[in-house]
C-alpha cells in the first residue's frame, strides 16, 4: 500500500509541475466547452426553435388570406412581417438581400377562387336536371394562387416546413368553405339550417412525445451535446501527458530501474493508471459543474443530467478507463515523445470528429454515422445522451459500457505486448 501511495504521490507531483500538461487537461477543455457551446447554440436553436423571418403581402382580405396570416403568425417557427403597398420587385429584392428567408404573396381574390372551385366541384356531383346551383362570378375563374419566394441559402427542410404549413392552413380553409357551401345548399334545397361547426382544426390529435424512459421532456440543445462531448474529448486528451510520461520513464531508464525492484513495475503502472484515472474523473466533475452552473451565466440553458446518478457514475468510469488505457497503449507503442504527442492528439481529434464530438451524429450522413460507431468517443457520447436525454437505466447502457470496457481491455493487452518489446 505504501508503494502504491508513493507512486501516486510521485505522479501527482510530476503532473502538477507540468504546466502545459495541466493546461491541456483542465484549461483547454473548459475553454473548448464554453466556446463550442456558445458557438453551436445558434445552430441548435435553428434546428429547434429559431424563427424563420417571413415577409408576406396579403392581397386577399377574405377567409383564405386572413387564415393563412393568422396561422403563420401563431406558429412558433415563423416570424411574420406583413407589408402592404410594396412593389413586387422591391418585395423580391428583400428576399434576395437576405432580409427575409421566405416571401409569400397571397394573390387577390384567392378566397373567392377557392370558393368557386369548390362550387364547381359540388355542381359536378349533382345530376344535370337539378340545374344551376350557384351563381358564378366571372372575375373569379381559375385557381387561387400563392407565390412563395425562397432565399437560395434556405435548407430544403425549412422549405418543406413552410410549404407544409401553407398546405395545412389552405386545407383548413377549403374544408371550412366547403362546409359553408354545403350548409347553404341544405338551407336552399332542403330548408334545413345547419348549426355552425366549432372547428375543423383538431379532428386528428397528433400526440408528440420524446423517446425517453422518464417523464421529463429534455430538449437536445447545445449544452446537452457540448458538455458531454467535450468532457469525453478532454478525458481522451489524457493520452498526451500520460503517454509522454510513460515514454520519458522508458527513455530515462527509470522504467528499467523499477523492473529491478521487486514488484515495483506492476505497482508503478497501477499507480500511474489510478492517478490519471482520478484526473479524468476530476475533469468530468469539472465539466459537469461548468454545464450545471457556469454556462447558464452566459445565457445558455443549464445542463440536465437526468436522474440516474449511478448510471452517470458507471459511464464516467468506463469512459475514463477507455481514455486512460488508450494513453497507456500509446505510451507503450510510440517510441518517442514527439511520436506519441502527434499520434495521440491527431488520433483523438479524428476519433472525436467521427465520434460526433464536433458535429453531433444526428446531423451526419449515413456513411459518417456508420463510421462514428467505431469511435470510443461515440460510445461514451451515446451513453451520456442516453442518461441525459433518454433517462436510460444501466441495462440500456450496457452495450456502450461493454464497448468502452472492451476497448480498455484491448488497449491494456496491446500495452502488455509492446511493453515486452524492449526486453528481447
Amino acid at each position: 500500500m505504501n508503494k502504491l501511495k508513493a507512486v501516486i504521490v510521485k505522479e501527482i507531483l510530476i503532473l502538477s509541475r507540468d504546466r502545459a500538461g495541466m493546461a491541456m487537461l483542465f484549461v483547454m477543455p473548459v475553454f473548448l466547452v464554453l466556446v463550442m457551446t456558445l458557438l453551436q447554440d445558434s445552430t441548435f436553436k435553428q434546428l429547434d426553435e429559431k424563427q424563420l423571418p417571413v415577409l408576406i403581402i396579403n392581397h386577399d382580405a377574405d377567409t383564405f388570406g386572413l387564415k393563412i396570416l393568422e396561422g403563420l403568425k401563431s406558429s412558433k417557427f415563423f416570424k411574420i412581417t406583413e407589408v402592404e403597398n410594396i412593389d413586387k420587385q422591391d418585395f423580391v429584392q428583400k428576399i434576395e438581400k437576405g432580409e427575409y428567408l421566405i416571401g409569400i404573396i397571397i394573390n387577390e381574390d384567392a378566397t373567392r377562387r377557392i370558393r368557386q372551385s369548390i362550387q364547381l366541384n359540388i355542381q359536378q356531383q349533382f345530376p344535370e336536371e337539378v340545374g344551376q346551383l350557384f351563381e358564378y362570378e366571372d372575375n373569379a375563374s381559375g385557381q387561387a394562387r400563392v407565390e412563395i419566394i425562397f432565399d437560395p441559402i434556405l435548407k430544403s427542410s425549412y422549405k418543406q416546413s413552410i410549404l407544409g404549413s401553407l398546405k395545412h392552413f389552405s386545407a383548413m380553409v377549403e374544408a371550412r368553405l366547403m362546409f359553408e357551401i354545403y350548409s347553404g345548399l341544405f338551407k336552399d334545397l332542403l330548408s334545413i339550417e345547419l348549426k355552425p361547426t366549432s372547428s375543423f382544426d383538431d379532428i386528428v390529435n397528433f400526440d408528440e412525445k420524446y423517446a425517453s424512459s422518464g417523464t421529463n421532456k429534455i430538449i437536445p440543445n447545445s449544452v446537452q451535446h457540448n458538455v458531454p462531448a467535450w468532457t469525453i474529448f478532454a478525458m481522451f486528451f489524457i493520452v498526451i501527458p500520460l503517454a509522454s510520461n510513460i515514454i520519458k520513464e522508458r527513455h530515462s531508464g527509470v522504467s528499467a530501474r523499477l523492473l529491478t525492484i521487486a514488484g515495483s513495475k506492476l505497482i508503478s503502472n497501477l499507480g500511474k493508471g489510478m492517478t490519471y484515472f482520478v484526473v479524468g474523473f476530476i475533469q468530468a466533475i469539472l465539466m459537469l459543474f461548468i454545464g450545471l452552473f457556469i454556462l447558464p451565466l452566459f445565457g445558455l440553458p443549464s445542463l440536465q443530467i437526468g436522474g440516474n446518478g449511478l448510471a452517470l457514475l458507471v459511464v464516467t468510469i468506463a469512459v475514463v478507463m477507455a481514455a486512460t488505457t488508450y494513453g497507456i497503449a500509446i505510451g507503450n507503442i510510440a517510441t518517442t515523445e514527439q511520436q506519441s504527442s502527434i499520434f495521440g492528439s491527431i488520433s483523438v481529434v479524428i476519433l472525436a470528429a467521427i465520434g460526433g464530438v464536433w458535429v453531433p451524429s444526428f446531423m451526419m450522413s449515413d456513411l459518417m454515422l456508420n463510421l462514428s460507431k467505431i469511435s470510443p468517443l461515440n460510445w461514451g457520447l451515446n451513453a451520456y445522451y442516453d442518461i441525459f436525454l433518454r433517462n436510460s437505466g444501466l441495462i440500456d447502457l450496457l452495450p456502450n459500457i461493454a464497448l468502452l470496457l472492451g476497448f480498455s481491455f484491448v488497449c491494456l493487452f496491446v500495452s502488455f505486448l509492446y511493453s515486452k518489446r524492449g526486453l528481447n
Partner: protein, 250 residues
C-alpha cells in the same frame, strides 16, 4: 577453503532478435562475496547484457544465474530484494527533487519514511548534495545527477550492487567521491559488480576482474594476477588491448 560465491553464472546464452551472433555465448562467471568485481570488455562484448540479466531485466535464452543461493529464474523477486542497481543512464525523475527521488525509490524498496529520511540525509551529506536536496533534478549538473543516480541505487543498503559505468562523463571530484563511497560500502560487506571502460579506475578499484569479449570470458583474476600473467604489459589497459585487440569496435 574456497570463499563463498555470491553470484554464479552458468552457460549463459543470449541472442537478440535479428542478429547473427550471440550477445552472450555460454558465459560462466563466479563472483565471491565481498568482491569488487570488474566486468570489462570492449563495446558489444556483452557487459551490459550480463548486468541486465543479473538484475532480472533481460531473460537469458538459456543458462542459469544463482544469486546468494537463489535461482534468479525461479525466484526473481527474492533476488531483486538483495540487489541494488545503478544503471549507466541517469534513471531519475527530472521533475522531482533529489529528496523526492530518494523518497520514491526508498518506498519502492519497502523502506519506511523515517528510515528513508535518515539514510537519505546521510547520503546527501556524503555526496555533498544536502544544499540542493530540494531542487529539481533537471537543474542539476551531470556530476550531481550521477551522484544522485548512485544514491538511489543504494538507498536500501543492498547486499549486492550492480554498477554499469557509474563514473562515465563526470568530473574528477565526483568520480573520487563515488569511488571512495563504493569502497566504504564494500568494506561493510556489499559485493559490487562493476562495468567500465576506464581501465585505470578498474585497476585501482576492483579486487577481481573478468575481461569478456564476444559474449565469453577471455580472462579473469585479480588486477595484479592479470599483470603477472601478461608480463609484456605495463598496465591493465595494455592487457585489455592485448586480449581484445586494437581494432575499433562498433
Amino acid at each position: 577453503m574456497e570463499e563463498k560465491a555470491i553470484i554464479v553464472i552458468q552457460d549463459l546464452l543470449k541472442r537478440y532478435k535479428n542478429t547473427a551472433k550471440n550477445a552472450l555465448d555460454s558465459l560462466n562467471l563466479k563472483v565471491k562475496q565481498g568482491d569488487i568485481y570488474g566486468l570489462l570488455g570492449p563495446n558489444g562484448a556483452g557487459k551490459t547484457s550480463t548486468i541486465s540479466m543479473l538484475c532480472g531485466l533481460l531473460p537469458p535464452d538459456s543458462g542459469e544465474i544463482i544469486i546468494n543461493g537463489t535461482n534468479l529464474r525461479s525466484k526473481p523477486d527474492k533476488v531483486k530484494a538483495m540487489i541494488g542497481v545503478v544503471p549507466q543512464e541517469i534513471a531519475l525523475f527530472e521533475d522531482l527533487t533529489a529528496k523526492e527521488n530518494l523518497m520514491f525509490f526508498g518506498r519502492m524498496h519497502g523502506l519506511k519514511k523515517d528510515e528513508i529520511n535518515r539514510r537519505g540525509n546521510d547520503l546527501l551529506e556524503k555526496f555533498s548534495l544536502t544544499e540542493k536536496s530540494n531542487k529539481r533534478v533537471k537543474t542539476f549538473s551531470g556530476g550531481m545527477k550521477r551522484r544522485l543516480n548512485l544514491m538511489v541505487g543504494i538507498i536500501h543498503g543492498p547486499e549486492i550492487l550492480f554498477l554499469d559505468e557509474p563514473s562515465v562523463g563526470i568530473d574528477v571530484q565526483s568520480k573520487n567521491v563515488i569511488i571512495e563511497y563504493l569502497k566504504e560500502i564494500n568494506r561493510s560487506g556489499t559485493t559490487i559488480i562493476y562495468t567500465s571502460h576506464l581501465m585505470e579506475e578498474a585497476e585501482k578499484f576492483c579486487t577481481e576482474i573478468s575481461i569478456i569479449d564476444f559474449g565469453r570470458e577471455i580472462t579473469k583474476g585479480k588486477p595484479s594476477e592479470l599483470l603477472e600473467n601478461n608480463k609484456d604489459c605495463e598496465n591493465l589497459e595494455d592487457v585489455f588491448l592485448k586480449l581484445t585487440g586494437r581494432n575499433v569496435r562498433e
